[in-house]
Amino acid sequence: MAHAEALNSFESGVARPRQSAPPAIEVRDLVKTYRGGVRALDGLSFSVHAGTIFGLVGPNGAGKSTTVKILTTLSRADSGIAKVASLDVMQEPARVRLAIGCVGQKSGIDSASTGRENLTLQGRVYGLRGKELREGVAGLLERFGLAQAGDRVTRTYSGGMQRKLDVAMGLIHRPQVLFLDEPTTGLDPEARADMWREITRLANEEGITILLTTHYLEEADRLAQRLAVVDRGRVVAEGTPEDLKRGLRGDTIHMELAQSEDAERSRGVLSGLAELREIAGEGRQLHARADRGAETVPQALAALESAGIKVASITVSRPSLDDVYLRHAGRAFREADEAGAERKTT
């Protein structure tokens, strides 16, 4: 134990390239089974470099919140290793709590108190006092655009304001590692853009390590340096958004047929083309992958036309994280999300 600590202080005392610093978050083979037999985590592993934003992406019920709850000491894993700031969350929860800030999926605001009162109490709990506390609170209210509303009871806040206050509360004690469980769910586009800007700033300017969970593949793509795609309690793909997309060869071709009756037949026709792979879709929508999408489009159109099938529109896109999910989880993201949501409500 003492040895490990000495090692840590040694490493942080000497300026070293980021790669050799210990990861800010390290998760290995986490398993968590809830009473009633739901296996929420099934051997989850990933690690996060200090000072970066890491995205945990997955559909409803994938196990994102369960992971955050375990890493923030709220819940306990059945087995596996979880370390935050080089501290084992199960062995040393008290020290972990001092190092982290946490914004849960559910807001944690006391709705009967004002924004300032919420922040002040949060600061006191971390041992802040007097001028330092007052200035910290005022600074955060200012930074999150809540200075005007600071003395209003938070019940009157909009969803976006509440979420901002949540994040502000997670920052009052200047944590090393910040957990954000779906920080933008339910926000309008403007509030979401605000939140994105703030999250990026925290990592870039203050060097805070951020673990962010999201349903929005696009959000992870925008914010995270690295991400893990989680499905049914496991990481099915991990890397930079670019890595993951590059792993998918070629482009996606989306077609909309004029008539849905043609769907079956057009699949048959398209599968005759050597250039097209992974043909899928439902109703009038069809997707397929091709190494060189733009060049394959005329061939596909010609083949369909000669079979007497009308195409309403056709587009080619570079691979997106949606495609990554489709590839690794074997189902479309939206489908998985709906299935997960259903399982949760029943």
């Binding site: 009473r35 709850k69 709220l74 944690g108 709990v125 971390y126």
Partner: protein, 257 residues
């Protein structure tokens, strides 16, 4: 030390939130008035029963209503826990360095403060209605202390139930299911000497009775301080055990999230 300061921070939060609900405050103050007037009228003639042992029913009833009011207020304290659980406030505190004890103790402090205010009001009202307490100011203070000592274990257990069940209905149900019988199995409304023999035995193990009995003794002309103290010590011991149980309930809660 942090447990104490954190408890005070939490108590301040609860008091402040309470102060923002004037209607709720009004109910908590009017309720005991209704009990006192209603039961005072209803059971007025009960003192004529041979062996009742009190000159007027208001004399007898006032400390009873103090105990009952504080008791039921304490039974509800778990509702605040449910509210915090639903809002996510509890989870936020549980991942912060806040002392677990403070999350319960803060509520108990608030409960105590409210209990004192309610009790003073009831005593004053009793005096206006003609009650006389030979025990004087000291007696009244001891009565209030006993009522507060009763509110602590009841409040702590209510919080424990809330953490385990996490449903309002369960807290309300459990508190009615337990507290109503405990009230009627005590001398809150009826002198012990007039109860059936089996009940007189049962009553001895009822914490509500310890509080009512000790409070009433303190208000009498020549209190038996030894018995008063014995009951107060029992209540204090029960408080410690209950508060410990309530903080244990956090572990059970955290195992289920």
């Amino acid at each position: 030390m942090t447990a104490v300061t954190h408890s005070l921070y939490m108590a301040v939060r609860h008091m402040r939130n309470l102060a923002r609900q004037p209607l709720y405050i009004m109910f908590t103050l009017v309720q005991p008035v209704i009990w006192l007037v209603l039961f005072g009228q209803l059971f007025k003639n009960i003192v004529r029963l041979p062996g009742f042992g009190a000159p007027s029913y208001v004399d007898f009833l006032t400390p009873g209503v103090v105990v009952m009011t504080v008791l039921f207020g304490a039974g509800w304290s778990g509702m605040g826990i449910i509210h915090d659980l639903d809002l996510g406030v509890m989870d936020r505190f549980l991942v912060s360095p806040v002392s677990r004890v403070a999350l319960i103790a803060g509520r108990l402090v608030q409960l105590g403060v409210v209990a004192v205010i309610q009790s003073v009001l009831i005593v004053v009202l009793g005096l206006i209605m003609g009650a006389r307490f030979p025990g004087g100011i000291l007696g009244v203070v001891v009565l209030i202390v006993c009522a507060v000592l009763l509110s602590l274990p009841v409040g702590a257990l209510s919080c424990a139930i809330a953490l385990l069940a996490r449903k309002e209905e369960t807290v309300i149900g459990a508190s009615n299911f337990i507290l109503l019988p405990l009230t009627f199995l005590s001398s809150v409304f009826m002198a012990e000497s007039l109860m059936p023999a089996w009940m007189q035995t049962v009553v001895r193990f009822n914490p509500v009775q310890w509080a009512a009995d000790a409070g009433r003794m303190a208000l009498s002309a020549h209190p038996d301080w030894g018995s008063v103290l014995a009951r107060a010590v029992l209540l204090a011991a029960l408080s410690v055990v209950s508060a410990w149980l309530a903080t244990r309930a956090f572990r059970a809660y955290q195992r289920s999230v």
